[in-house]
Symmetry: C2
Subunit: 340 residues, 2 copies
DNA sequence: TGTTAGCACTCGACGTTGATGAGTGCTAAC
DNA sequence: GTTAGCACTCATCAACGTCGAGTGCTAACA
């Protein structure tokens, strides 16, 4: 049985009301607040059908109805198909979060996550998949005041890492640059893994400062380790405390501890190839999160693609969230194109 | 009226019990769990006196007693004076959080805050006061893959900042180094403020790449801005959700929003000159925080001194917290001495 | 055949009541 | 000064009744 126009209108009205108020919606409320054009009794008959079909849940016999995850799924699918007919709508309020400055890749991600969290008042997450094949672009040693040196490594995808390493005291800025130049000439274009091997070999037969070489190798190793793992950024974790869904402290704690486990977070943010994807309740496949939803949007940097997303209660304003995420993810893709 | 030995023992027993259980302590509980050597009735008489004197509160007539802030103050003062007689005790479990690596100053702070939060299971905060007089040690431009450059500035206090700036496309690594060298020769030893003025003057009469000079000036300006403000690091904010004191969601939200306001946080972390300082309840001077306490310890880096602290419910294991903070703050001071 | 008014019914929310028990304060005896 | 005994207080909890929002069903209506 497929839903006729009136059933869809009623279902949609219930979802809108419920998203706004978080309280079960009754038949009279609908006639008051939406112009369906029939009496509560008729609405009740329709609601009874919708319940039968699995689109509505009834917390108990004398409360109103609550949309089921199936209802949200339908609602979201209709939004998506409406959008795919025309241009995807963008959210102009995004602009105030991004200014014209040339940003490092990690700053862009941070800005984006903050923007999403603050615009949606939900928890925003970004996942950058590991790039084990990242190649070195430049190595540079910078003198530090206490005689050690700052080692800066820049990769071809614009990722910057630095660390302090110990060096022989006789090396001044020129000396460090000479080393930087040699290292860059030899290492540029190689992956982080290759560089480690090269340095081990090189160190054995070279008279260069062993501590420098080992420092470079260690940072390369650390970067390789970090780079091969997915990295995660979270913002607005305790926004969720304002939602009545989480007025139970235990639920809130469960939610927050999920956010602190990068593995689970990464599996929640798995992206598919749509511009915006929505997973609702049990679709997430995690029992603890069965009454939450995740919306995410992909962005690309380099050859790779990351995911920007939002986690929140199943009752969330999907339309607005999807619009915001889509807009910001597009913006990120553009910014990354500039960085490279 | 001053407290005799027995009153002190009883008060101390009540505080210890209450810190452990978070439940009002009755007279029988004390005789069972502590060896005072008198009957519950006698304890009751003493407790009545202690209540009269303001050391104990009575939530209602037939619950046990709860220590007042005055009681915690006495308790903490006695701990402090016991310690000042001998060596301050250290907490050996701190070691596993710090390894031998040479760390950047900001990494040290981050590690310390994480260690405190995880050892105390409370919210840890570090405040670094602004250093408007910070001087430049080295400026270095590093080529980025897309033709722009990474500008790295190292200050005399070991603070590192970098940003991406646009440069003319003709500059390769050697060209950038030549500029870096000139810039460093001219700027080293000057404050961030001076550097901005110098660059403005220099740019006017120089043929050097204006975009580089402006990029350096902008980063110097940004660093000066950041450096003149106190900076704050927080860790373990939602540890407090596990404490029954915060089972009221509104209280938890108030607490968490205080943590998000750097100004209030900085005023909470104001340090005095003791090695470890404790402020309890209303001593904090913030109505919203009247049932919280703050413990903090100073550390020094460069000529300046920062504060490492803990915020939590008034009922916290002061002894352990003070020990942990003292140990870590000492460790930080040592590490900073190495960095410089 | 679809829509609607009417009405009995359900069940959570909320307030009241009473029993329970931990803990106190007082008194009198030791 | 200490202690046993005892009346008293008051939060907690379960049981119970009331209230009202909302439903489902039925019969009448267009």
């Amino acid at each position: 049985m497929t839903l006729d126009e009136r059933k869809l209108r009623i279902l949609s009205a219930i979802i809108d009301d419920y998203i706004e108020t978080a309280a079960p919606v009754g038949s009279r409320t609908i006639t008051r607040r939406h112009n369906i054009g029939v009496s509560p009794a008729t609405i009740r008959n329709e609601m009874s059908d919708l319940t039968e079909l699995g689109y509505l849940d009834q917390p108990h016999v004398s409360a109103g109805r609550v949309p089921s995850s199936k209802a949200y799924r339908l609602y979201v699918d209709r939004l998506l198909s409406a959008w795919s007919d025309s241009e995807l709508p963008v959210d102009p309020s995004v602009n105030e979060y991004f200014d014209e400055k040339a940003l490092q890749m990690e700053d862009i991600v941070k800005t984006a996550v903050q923007a999403v969290s603050s615009l949606t008042r939900l928890t925003a997450v970004a996942v950058l998949p590991g790039q084990p094949e990242m190649r070195i672009a430049t190595l540079q040693l910078v003198p530090m005041p206490n005689g050690s040196a700052l080692l800066v490594i820049v990769t071809d995808s614009g990722i910057v890492r630095d660390t302090v390493i110990h060096v022989s005291r006789r090396l001044d800025m020129d000396g460090l640059y000479a080393i930087s130049r040699t290292l860059t000439e030899n290492m540029a274009g190689h992956t982080l893994m290759e560089v480690q091997a090269m340095l081990d070999a090189y160190a054995a037969r070279s008279s260069a400062d062993q501590r420098v070489l080992m420092g470079v190798r260690d940072l390369a190793a650390q970067m390789a380790r970090q780079a091969s793992e997915d990295s995660v950024a979270v913002e607005g974790a305790h926004n969720i405390l304002s939602y009545p869904e989480f007025s139970d402290l235990d639920k809130a704690r469960t939610f927050l501890s999920t956010l602190e486990a990068p593995d689970r977070l990464i599996s929640l943010m798995r992206d598919n190839d749509q511009p915006v994807s929505v997973r609702i309740g049990t679709e997430l496949g995690i029992p603890d999160m069965a009454d939450c939803s995740v919306v995410n949007a992909g962005f690309s940097y380099g050859g790779c693609c990351g995911t920007l997303g939002v986690i929140g209660p199943m009752r969330m304003p999907y339309g607005q969230v999807m619009r915001t995420l889509y807009t910001i993810s597009q913006r990120m893709t553009n910014l990354f194109a500039e960085v490279r």
